[in-house]
């Protein structure tokens, strides 16, 4: 583990009643890096992300953000640190336009009176900075946007608030080929702009298109961290389906697949 990691999780354990969801999980992500988090259904991806986002709190373990230990007890704590989550269902209001969705719950106002000009201006600027060029008008309602555009709006909303870490939950799950490409390009751009990105995905093609490193979870344990350039899809698939945590075997390497 490097000392420069933006976010570090150490020995995270979480159980729901008798179900052990996470066991002694280590995880890290650097600024400017896209870290993929992969694993089969029930591997503990969502639980891990919820511990980072403050929806759950871990039973034991340490969370370090920018090198300091932090306690994230709710979504507001996470937002204060600069952690934003884009959930799979995007949480957009279809009846509101792009600007209104981008500022939902954080409207620019003076004495509770909305400042539309500021909001519209910054929305257009943010979309431009992320090279989201397919949205014709920021005053369109979100209902009229395509799936990829909606995803872009949700991501742009997460980025707009000076966030340092953006967590994307299955951002391409419901998209066609062309729109998937758009969103993946956007994810890469976030990394290039210096943000830390955690990408949760089932789709290894997407992961290998965008991620710098890949963390594999299996049955609530971390199997290992893989450098994307030095790894084949086959290796990752094996880790997902049959991987054994190397820590248990007492060999602390960055990657390990046991046949």
């Amino acid at each position: 583990m490097s000392d420069t990691a933006l976010l570090q999780l150490r020995h995270i354990t979480k159980s729901f009643g008798s179900v052990q969801a996470l066991t002694d999980v280590d995880f890290e992500v650097n600024a400017g890096e896209v870290m993929a988090l992969v694993g089969d259904n029930g591997a503990g991806k969502s639980t891990l992300v919820k511990c980072i986002a403050g929806t759950h709190s871990a039973d034991s373990g340490q969370i370090l953000f920018e090198g300091r230990e932090v306690h994230i007890n709710g979504p507001k704590d996470a937002a204060r640190l600069g952690i934003e989550v884009v959930y799979q269902d995007l949480a957009l209001c279809d009846n509101l336009d792009v600007v209104q969705n981008m500022y939902l719950g954080r409207e620019a106002n003076r004495f509770q009176i909305l400042n539309e000009a500021t909001m519209e201006h910054h929305t257009a600027e943010t979309l431009k900075s992320l090279a989201v060029t397919t949205i014709r008008s920021v005053r369109q309602t979100v209902a009229t946007l395509s799936g990829g555009q909606r995803q872009s709006v949700a991501v742009a909303r997460a980025v707009m608030w000076n966030s340092k870490l953006v967590i994307l939950d299955e951002p391409t799950a419901a998209l066609g080929v062309a729109q998937t490409e758009q969103v993946l390009a956007l994810v890469r751009r976030l990394g290039e702009q210096g943000l830390a990105v955690i990408l949760i995905s089932h789709n290894l093609h997407d992961v290998f298109e965008t991620a710098d490193r890949i963390t594999v979870l299996r049955l609530g344990r971390d199997i290992g961290v893989y450098e994307r350039r030095q790894t084949s899809q086959q290796q990752v698939v094996e880790a997902i389906t049959a991987g054994v945590p190397t820590k248990v075997a007492g060999i602390p390497t960055t990657a390990g697949v046991e046949q």
Partner: protein, 423 residues
């Protein structure tokens, strides 16, 4: 309003409409109107057309409909329903319903009647009495809203219980006395006072200036940003239209007479316009209003965005209670009394029908305050016109029902057309 500054290829999105870049100037107005018409983005146009048709129809068939005096009567008759319909808009925007408003209006009227009773121990100034009555109704609305927001009982059930409870309270209070006469002039003014001719002109000037001033303020505050602004021609047309309506209203009102007494611009109409502007501002230009639309559109998204959904729900039911109370006072002022027969006619259903005819969706998140005003005016005009034609009450209900059905059907088609054209 379009900021077409972000244009690029999107293979998966529907091909951009060729008329996306609207020309400026007068041609732009035509282009936008045609685009809106084709894509079903009709706004208030159908209801305004309907209103014109109704007025022409009754003007030609009924002898005493198209008179200045009947116009003032119409305003005084419609004011109470309109006030209730304003509150209904906010409740419907959340995707909720408030069935208690009819009898809450009765509670408002009852409280005001009790408080102004001369010779009683609680006798007080009429204005103070009205403020207390509205506050009581807001508190009742807030109480009902709290049960909906915090306990999670559906609004239909909570307000149905309210419907029965407040009806019962009114029955208990009025069963022996029958009727309470309202003598306080301030209370009665809300549905009978007419301004002097000069007062009417001044109000028309103020109302005419409000819209252009608001738009100019927006332009000034948007300086330095690249925000698309409204077409100057559309702006001029709207400003002129509002001024025209305001001045014609005053001219007609100033001609209205009962025998030899001039009626003048009715205060009830001015109250309605005041609350129309106030509540439109609340809905469209404040964080609260934005959050109401957000909760109605996607409550879960609103919650995750940090909006306190229960707080919004309680506040909206307080608004609904307050407008019901005020509407009830206006109704009581119309007949200078509160009787066992209160609320008059189908107050609850007329108020909800007004909002729905005005394009407010029952499923939340879609609609505007102006819809309630237009819908209430359409229903009021229809019922007033049929009355002057001596049509029976049965037929009045049937025709009102058909208009409601027609308006909602048209709206459903328009929404479908909008969805198909991707706007």
């Amino acid at each position: 309003m379009t900021t077409a500054d972000v244009v690029g290829p999107d293979r998966a999105a529907p091909p951009p409409a060729p008329e996306e870049e609207l020309p400026s100037g007068l041609a732009g107005v035509y282009a936008r109107a045609w685009l809106n018409l084709r894509t079903g983005n009709l706004g208030p146009i159908p209801i305004i057309v309907g209103l014109v048709v109704v007025v022409l129809l009754f003007g030609l068939t009924a002898t005493n409909f198209f008179t200045a005096t009947n116009f003032v009567n119409l305003v005084n008759e419609t004011a109470g329903t309109t006030m209730l319909a304003f509150g209904v808009v906010f409740v419907l925007l959340l995707g909720e319903i408030d069935l208690s408003i009819g009898y809450l209006a009765g509670i408002g009227a009852l409280v005001v009647a009790e408080l102004q009773l001369p010779g009683s121990s609680q006798h007080m100034n009429g204005i103070l009495a009205m403020i207390i009555a509205v506050a009581v109704c807001a508190a009742i609305g807030g109480f009902q809203g709290s049960i909906i927001a915090f306990v999670g009982v559906p609004s239909f059930v909570v307000t149905l219980a309210g419907f029965l409870i407040w009806q019962g309270v009114i029955l208990n209070k009025l069963q022996q006395r029958g009727t309470i006469i309202i003598q306080d002039r301030w209370i009665n003014y809300t549905d009978s006072y007419g301004f002097s001719h000069l007062g009417g002109w001044l109000i028309a000037i103020v109302v005419s200036l409000l819209y252009p001033l608001a738009i100019l303020y927006r332009r000034v505050s948007a300086r330095g940003t690249h925000i698309a602004q409204q077409n100057w021609w559309a702006f001029a047309a709207k400003t002129g239209g509002i001024a025209l309506v305001a001045f014609v209203t005053v001219i007609v009102s100033n001609h209205a007479k009962v025998i030899t007494t001039s009626l003048g611009l009715p205060l009830s109409g001015v109250i309605i316009v005041f609350f129309f502007i106030l509540l439109t501002f609340l809905a469209k230009s404040t964080t609260f209003g934005r959050h109401v639309y957000a909760v109605g559109g996607n409550a879960e998204a609103a919650r995750r965005a940090g909006i306190s959904v229960p707080r919004i729900r309680v506040l909206v039911f307080m608004i609904s209670g307050a407008t019901a109370g005020l509407g009830g006072i206006i109704f009581a002022a119309q007949v200078n009394s509160v009787a066992l027969t209160f609320p008059p006619g189908n107050l609850l259903l007329n108020a909800i029908a007004s909002a729905v005819i005005g394009g407010v969706s029952l499923f939340g998140g879609r609609g505007e305050v102006r819809g309630a005003l237009l819908g209430a005016v359409l229903i009021g005009t229809l019922q007033n016109g049929l009355n002057t034609l001596n049509v029976s009450n049965g037929w009045i209900y049937i025709i009102t029902g058909l208009v409601l059905l027609g308006a909602v059907t048209l709206d459903t088609f328009a929404v479908r057309l909008q969805a198909r054209s991707g706007r």
